[in-house]
Symmetry: C2
Subunit: 574 residues, 2 copies
């Protein structure tokens, strides 16, 4: 079978897979399900891989198809504690048996969860070891308690290392108050003291937009990062260059301004302050005013991009060097939204939240989703008391049928307690560092591996034509994805040019799994990516660049030109 990239694609049932194990032919059940799905389910929903997988079981960081064949899952960040986590399932099931209703009735677990989740976001001015037990106290619900298996690493790290803490282990304590560090640190950050529970990351970001529209009346313009995706609602598609400049996209709306995404690999767009000034000016030129700025703390759909140090906020004591985005926008009363839907909940390893890896960054709103309920639909928005009050002031009720329902809260509580108890943030840091190191070894020897980046278990491998040109190579990235799947390792591609392999596995992903991923990835590059295959892929890259990615890059480039060099009016649609 020839895949859409012009190269041979292994078809289950037709060939032996690369690791020599026979591949099963699709079952009747598979064929029936595939036909029925194509007949009756949304035609623009997608199935991964040329030959989709029928997955019927999950366990930890493995998925199993209908033949019982296991796949190493390196991509499903929603199953944060692992697929089919026994304790989370038990917590949800117990709550479903007891009660699952909405938040218009009082329930003890809702505020318990709310306060526990908010505690992970905020620094405290003093931290002492007087409240050692608070973690035990909060790590329980109406139905369940989560005993401390690992007492020394059961708490989340705070926004930044307290000044009095020097060792790594100290920096990993604090959120539950069980740190023995008693340093005093001025809290210069926003206090995110109010939570809203909703159903999905999209609902959370859409709510952020509503909140901004009420709190900043008249400031209807919004700035977002190039390549960003913030959700699937009508309003959020307009805030997602990944969509509106992607396939089938309708282009940028006049009220949306796109901050060119920093590209540290190519040394482009690294100045946050200049970007802030440019979008403020662009809004003004359109006769508008910027009300909000949405930014993922690590850009996921943007291509697993780690923002350069100081991009959002410079905290050096030295005179600033003009790279500080947050201050510029805050001075203009722009509401700063950190979208943590993909990267939050300890995934970044060195901090519980992505924004906390960037010292001094203090968003006004944090949105959360995906991993929050290990797959149970739940998401959240945290904000300051001031903004919540402004949103509430006109008197319109906010109601969300499933947001804050008792079962959703049970799921959220279980995830948060287990995450902290089992030190999974620290685990992500450890395994992520090991994996990053291993992947970076490949940088030396493989021409198509352009960059390896990320934090914790949120990693990206940028696939390029060659190291000199750094040209995006989406066909090669896609080919690698398919070859890895044939080796029973599931990865995915992302970025505006679909050339960044993303790795964001369940957090229980361990050293053994990292070794498997590294081994298979290396073998694909060394044994399968032959000169012949590369030649075919290069032709495919040329075709794709002409038809898809070149025109797309032209839009991003034109946007930069308009912003920074005073080109066409920003009202001109792209």
């Amino acid at each position: 079978m020839t895949g859409t990239d012009g190269t041979e694609v292994a078809v289950a049932g037709a060939v032996a897979s690369a690791d020599g194990v026979a591949v099963h032919a699709p079952s009747d059940k598979y064929s029936i399900a595939l036909a029925a799905r194509r007949r009756s389910y949304g035609p623009n929903t997608s199935l991964s891989y040329e030959q989709p997988l029928m997955i019927i079981r999950g366990d930890g960081t493995y998925l199993f198809d209908e033949h019982g064949v296991s796949y190493l899952d390196c991509v499903n960040n929603v199953s944060h504690l692992g697929h089919s986590n026994t304790e989370v399932v038990a917590a949800i099931s117990a709550q479903l048996r007891k009660l699952n209703t909405n938040s218009r009735y009082l329930h003890p677990d809702l505020p318990r969860y709310t306060e526990m989740l908010l505690a992970t976001l905020n620094t405290t001015t003093t931290t002492t070891n007087n409240n050692n037990n608070s973690c035990n106290t909060t790590c329980s619900s109406n139905n369940s308690t989560y005993s401390n298996k690992k007492s020394s690493t059961n708490c989340t790290r705070h926004n930044s290392t307290p000044e009095g803490c020097s060792s790594n282990s100290d920096s990993n304590k604090g959120a539950c108050g069980s740190s023995s560090c008693s340093s005093t640190k001025a809290n210069t950050l926003q206090n995110l003291e109010v939570l809203y529970l909703v159903c999905s990351g999209s609902e959370a970001n859409d709510l952020a937009l509503r909140l901004i529209s009420v709190a900043r009346p008249g400031a209807t313009h919004v700035a977002v990062m190039g390549g960003a995706y913030h959700g699937h609602t009508s309003a959020l598609i307009q805030l997602s260059p990944y969509k509106f400049w992607g396939t089938g996209g309708g282009g940028r709306q006049p009220h949306v301004h796109v901050v060119p995404c920093p590209d540290p690999y190519r040394g482009e767009n690294l100045d946050g302050r200049a970007a802030a000034r440019a979008v403020l000016a662009a809004a003004e030129r359109c006769g508008g005013r910027l009300g909000g700025f949405f930014c993922e703390s690590i850009l996921s759909c943007g291509g697993q991009v780690v923002l350069p140090p100081g991009y959002l906020k410079v905290i050096s004591e030295r005179p600033r060097v003009g790279r500080d985005l947050y201050d510029e926008l805050r001075a203009a009363r722009v509401v700063l939204v950190a979208d943590e839907v993909q990267c939050g909940f300890g995934r970044c390893g060195e901090a519980f939240w992505g924004f906390q890896t960037q010292p001094g960054v203090a968003p006004d709103i944090v949105t959360m989703g995906k991993p929050i309920g290990n797959g149970y639909p739940l998401a959240a928005l945290a904000t300051t008391r001031e903004l919540a009050a402004a949103f509430a002031a006109p008197g319109m009720e906010y109601f969300n049928t499933y947001g804050g329902s008792t079962a959703a809260v049970a799921a959220g509580l279980a995830v948060l307690c287990i995450l902290q108890r089992d030190g999974l943030q620290q685990h992500a840091q450890r395994v992520g560092s090991y994996l990053l190191y291993g992947l970076r070894q490949l940088l030396q020897t493989h021409e198509v591996v352009g960059d390896v980046r990320g934090l914790g278990l949120f990693l990206g491998i940028e696939i390029v034509r060659d190291k000199a040109s750094k040209r995006h190579a989406p066909a090669t990235a896609r080919w690698i994805k398919e070859r890895m799947k044939a080796r029973r390792v599931l990865i995915s591609t992302d970025g505006p040019y679909d050339n960044v392999i993303k790795i964001k596995p369940p957090m229980v992903f361990g050293i053994r799994e990292a070794d498997m991923l590294l081994r298979e990835f290396r073998e694909v590059l060394e044994q399968e990516l032959t000169a012949d295959v590369r030649q075919k892929l290069r032709r495919r890259e040329d075709e794709l660049w002409t038809s898809v990615y070149g025109p797309r890059q032209a839009k991003y480039r034109e946007n930069e030109r308009q912003l920074f060099q005073g080109g066409l009016s920003p009202q001109a649609r792209l």
Copy 2:
């Protein structure tokens, strides 16, 4: 304690309740939870009742507070099969233990559910008894099977009674093909053959809006019904007069046109065709074009309003009398959306979907939510193959993290199978008719009961000052709600004037529960609504009318004037 309506409100712990049973004082747990919630949870989320209830358990159509006191739940339509339904809980739990992942992998239950759900929406041209077993075949998932307890009433009824069927029982068969009716009927209806699964009713309606914007490019205007609520996203708040003309609302946006809601009780706005022509003209006067029309099949937040016969579609053979909204709008290529989020899934009794109670009504899109998963977050959009193809044509993927996930599908399958197996639609018709009859008895004898209306277990009681004036009486409605709660019966109020008591209990609500509701309601009216209380309430009505409802009514009236009498330009904001 004096409530906000100026009348005495029973406070738990302070007085004996109306039925003579001592009321418990709030527990410490209650006080702690209430304080924590007020401190940390969205200040504009609401808790029902003057003294909120702490509910910790649910069973069938009863809820239980922290003291074990039971409340008859007449309002939570989300728990469609009853709170804590054992089989639904088991189905969700079993799936969670096995796998809960997204729809980018193939899973046999997704298309199984999709096709089963779509089958409830579409008529077939011929129905014979040859396929008696299809219900048994589809009523199973990968994990569970649902045996036929009630073989004769296990299927849903179709859009309209087949011509060959005359008896009531025949009309309740068909969707699964097990009807013995073999009539042939021309299928003049749309075929809703494609489904999208999402997370919430809001996501479903927001997706409808996206679909319309792609399928009808440039037709950016939308018509909605007065009093309607379609969801909480930024875009849907703009489509919800209940919100934008309600407390804290920002007014109507220029691209939104409001069809005055029919008020059969007062004999107002009963002409659907005139309304259709008016909104088409209004859009045109604004330089726009109508792309979509959203209408709940029974208006819930609009005040439990049953559309008058023929309002959407006249099917009489006689010459039409100018009351036909659907044809007018369809001729202008307006996409017709039936919002079934509140009233679907058999609640209306005489049909599985609300729109199917209106002969000939054939929406282009049906959105569903709330009851679909018995509380598990799930919702759906069904549409025609043509519209789905138009939406997919530009090539933009639609992805929803939790929509169509394996656990959500397990919940949906369980609900649909049990609903059909247990004949709950027919049960709703039976109990609903009984309840409606009982409530209508009260019309004769009670001055404040202005109207009693509804279908199946979707009922409304309009509370008025007096029968002659028919003036809305929100303070009295609210007082009744609080007094019913003291008697351990939970009801709620709705409508743009908050004066309609809504009754939409779990579908397992039976004759016994109906009797309890009727008895307590009668006693509140006969024993508690004394001349003295009425006098106090009348003063409160006057205050509320002046401060809140009078100005609100003025907006609705002005909208009517603009639409029908060529008043101010529709561009003038209301």
